[in-house]
């Protein structure tokens, strides 16, 4: 990863290949080369792909029903059985299969992460672009609004809403009781940071020569925004979005942990850790460990991927060598 050899030594190596024609490197190639060199990011991408496949395909795979208790031959419930062949992650206090609960619990987390990410990405980019492109009253009022949203403390507000959602009668139950409701909530609370970043990017880019040139060449607003400005702002957008996805998964889990998230018996990682913590004091560690690990590994992968993307998209990285 780090090349600590002196320049002289490397030069000899270079001399050996001198004379070879060098292909021009495009931005895209550079991006891929750098991303692929970020080993942790590649591992993280692998882990995430695996998680998503597992969670999506779960009903087709031979997992137990995550809400049904397991019975032994005599018909007794298998409560708090440690990991063993056939029951890889053990069972919980109600005799449910922990492996299958962890897998199905991933659904809630990944849906929340994905939907929140999509929401934040769209809203943040939209608000930020509009504010950045139309200076004056539009910008001013949008930014005041953004400040206001940013001023709301995420968790205290999220907890209230999480607590209230299932009680709101006029909401359809797939919003009130499911991950979608939580995702909408988190999305609406967390787009402010991205909006600010995108706006700042617009403000600096709209004065740049290439944008001026495009404008002089008669490009219309939409073309300028989509062809010239947004592609340049893509790096902070992606980085901020991955960050938010990680945070959203954590907050959803925290809500479920506190009992204000997705109501049982639907499995969630937060819920699994909460129950697992209660029984871990009696030595039944598996629920806490497996639930917690799934959560940490997922968020960690997202953050590593985000880091890899940031490195790969960062234009100043051409000079600094790692």
């Amino acid at each position: 990863m780090t090349d600590t050899r002196g320049a002289g030594e490397r030069l000899e190596e270079l001399d050996a290949v001198e004379g070879l024609a060098v292909e021009p490197i495009t931005q895209w190639d550079l991006f891929w080369t750098r991303l692929r060199r970020h080993r942790l990011a590649m591992v993280a991408a692998g882990v995430l792909t695996f998680m998503v496949l597992l969670v999506v395909l779960a009903p087709l795979l031979p997992f137990e029903d995550p809400t049904q208790r397991l019975l032994d031959d005599t018909g007794r419930t298998l409560r708090n059985i440690g990991p063993r062949g056939g029951i890889l992650f053990g069972t919980d206090e109600l005799g449910r299969d922990v492996l299958s609960r962890v897998v199905y619990g991933g659904r809630a987390s990944l849906i929340v992460g994905g939907v929140t990410g999509a929401l934040v990405c769209t809203m943040g980019t939209l608000v930020g672009s509009i504010a950045g492109y139309y200076p004056g009253p539009v910008d001013q009022s949008l930014m005041r609004f953004t400040d206001l949203v940013l001023g709301l403390p995420l968790l205290p507000v999220a907890i209230v809403v999480g607590r209230i959602l299932p009680d709101v009668e006029w909401l359809p139950s797939w919003v009130g009781d499911g991950p979608i409701g939580i995702a909408l909530l988190l999305g609406f609370l967390s787009w402010g940071g991205l909006a600010r970043i995108v706006r700042a990017e617009f403000l600096s880019l709209r004065e740049k020569e290439f944008v001026e040139a495009a404008r002089a060449a008669g490009a219309n607003d939409r073309r300028i925004v989509f062809r010239h400005i947004l592609p340049n702002a893509i790096s902070p957008i992606i980085v901020q979005t991955t960050l938010i996805v990680g945070i959203a998964i954590i907050v959803e889990a925290a809500l479920s942990f506190l009992g204000f998230g997705i109501p049982p018996p639907t499995p969630t990682w937060g819920g699994i850790v909460s129950e697992g913590g209660r029984i871990a004091v009696r030595g039944f560690w598996w629920q806490l460990v497996f639930g917690g690990t799934a959560l940490v590994v997922t968020v960690l992968s997202i953050n590593f991927l985000g880091d890899g993307l940031r490195d790969a998209l960062d234009p100043t990285q051409t000079i600094e060598r790692k």
């Binding site: 995420l154 205290p156 889990a253 942990f257 871990a280 004091v281 917690g292 790692k322």
Partner: protein, 384 residues
């Protein structure tokens, strides 16, 4: 500069109103508090009629909110117990005038803030204060003020310890990593920071509680830390040293649970900021002057690299408070956060609203403090 302070206060007030309004409407969306009150058979006869009248519970939502808001800022009792508050008031007024006259402009806000803070602390100790935050809908008898205000101290202690740990460990760590960029230690530090940053507070909390406090004692028979609470039962009888020990053994685990994420964030941020400063032109100038590496780092780099972390901390305050809500529930810490969760469980309207606003006020104040501190550290800042 006056304009700046006023503007900050106005923004703060607007944020608080928006916050309370949103939470108020959210709570209402799940049904009128009256419906819940009718279900509560603990309440004395006449209580429901009384609060309905006082809080306008049978009136339109906006009227209800307005009543709540005006009541919230209304003191029930605000009386000096002796002459000291008046003396303090006088001293503060004189001090502010002196600061205005003699202090360098960029230090004025900090001085004024300090004087006001110390003055308020002394004055409040010698006053009865109580705001009309209503009566708990759940118990039907206790004053919300008593339930909430008495718990702010516990959350304060927890939050500040966590912040302290995060700063004291995170900042030096980040600086050290920057100075040894790409070393093994740096890479280890970066990796650990990522792991810590990705580990939810409740996972850390539950793991620490289960294994470091609970199972550790079972395995070894040594009680290192307490599983729950803020002080032991016999706290009052202990000597001062033992009291400190008792506090330490209660405080450490929940504080670490909250601190870890922030710590990771600070170390990452500090590392980046230090690296940026190390690359800056003025550091090149410092080197070209012939300063030693030590002076360059301590005098020229650190002073600059520490400035931006102030902003990060001010953003982080809200997260630390969020973290306190979670850890307090895990470790049975008698603070605002746990009360908040309890109140939400039974949708105790006035208690929830009171705590939301206390949290909001805390965040707004801390942000203003951070802004002023930034101005003290960075001579380029202008208040206008």
């Amino acid at each position: 500069m006056f304009a700046y302070i006023i503007r900050r206060l106005v923004y703060g007030a607007v944020t608080l109103i928006a916050l309370s309004f949103i939470v108020f409407m959210m709570l209402q969306a799940a049904g009128s508090p009256l419906d819940r009150l009718y279900l509560n058979n603990l309440l004395e006869d006449g209580f429901i009629e009384e609060v309905t009248r006082l809080w306008g519970l049978d009136q339109p939502l906006l009227v209800q909110y307005w009543k709540w808001l005006t009541n919230y800022v209304q003191p029930l009792d605000f009386s000096p117990q002796n002459i000291i508050p008046w003396i303090v008031l006088g001293i503060v007024a004189v001090a502010i005038a002196a600061i205005w006259r003699f202090a360098e402009p960029r230090f004025r806000p900090a001085w004024i803030l300090g004087v006001v803070f110390v003055g308020a602390m002394v004055a409040l100790r010698n006053m009865n204060i109580e705001f009309d935050w209503g009566i708990s809908f759940n118990s039907g008898s206790t004053l919300v003020w008593d339930e909430v205000f008495s718990r702010a101290g516990a959350t304060f202690r927890l939050g500040f310890t966590a912040l302290g740990i995060a700063l004291i460990v995170g900042i030096p760590l980040g600086i050290y990593q920057a100075l040894r960029q790409y070393s093994f230690f740096d890479q280890l530090g970066t990796f650990s920071a990522f792991v810590a940053f990705s580990t939810p507070i409740f996972v850390i909390g539950v793991a620490l509680q289960t294994y470091v406090a609970f199972r550790f004692e079972e395995w070894t028979g040594v009680k290192l830390f307490f599983v729950a609470g803020m002080t032991g039962d016999n706290y009052a009888q202990l000597s001062f040293i033992d009291q400190m020990g008792d506090i330490f053994r209660h405080l450490t685990l929940p504080a670490i649970s909250i601190a870890l994420i922030s710590l990771a964030g600070y170390s990452r941020f500090q590392r980046a900021s230090m690296l940026e400063v190390m690359r800056s032109d003025y550091l090149r100038t410092a080197k070209a002057k012939g300063l030693s590496r030590r002076t360059i780092i301590v005098k020229h780099a650190l002073r600059n690299a520490l400035i931006p972390i102030v902003t990060l901390v001010s953003i982080d305050i809200a997260f630390i408070i969020g973290g306190a809500i979670i850890t307090e529930s895990i470790f049975g810490w008698p603070g605002l956060g746990r009360k908040y969760i309890e109140a939400l469980g039974v949708v105790d309207f006035p208690v929830i609203m009171a705590i939301v606003l206390v949290i909001g006020i805390g965040i707004v104040i801390m942000n203003i403090v951070a802004d002023i501190l930034y101005g003290v550290l960075d001579p380029r800042v202008r208040y206008d």
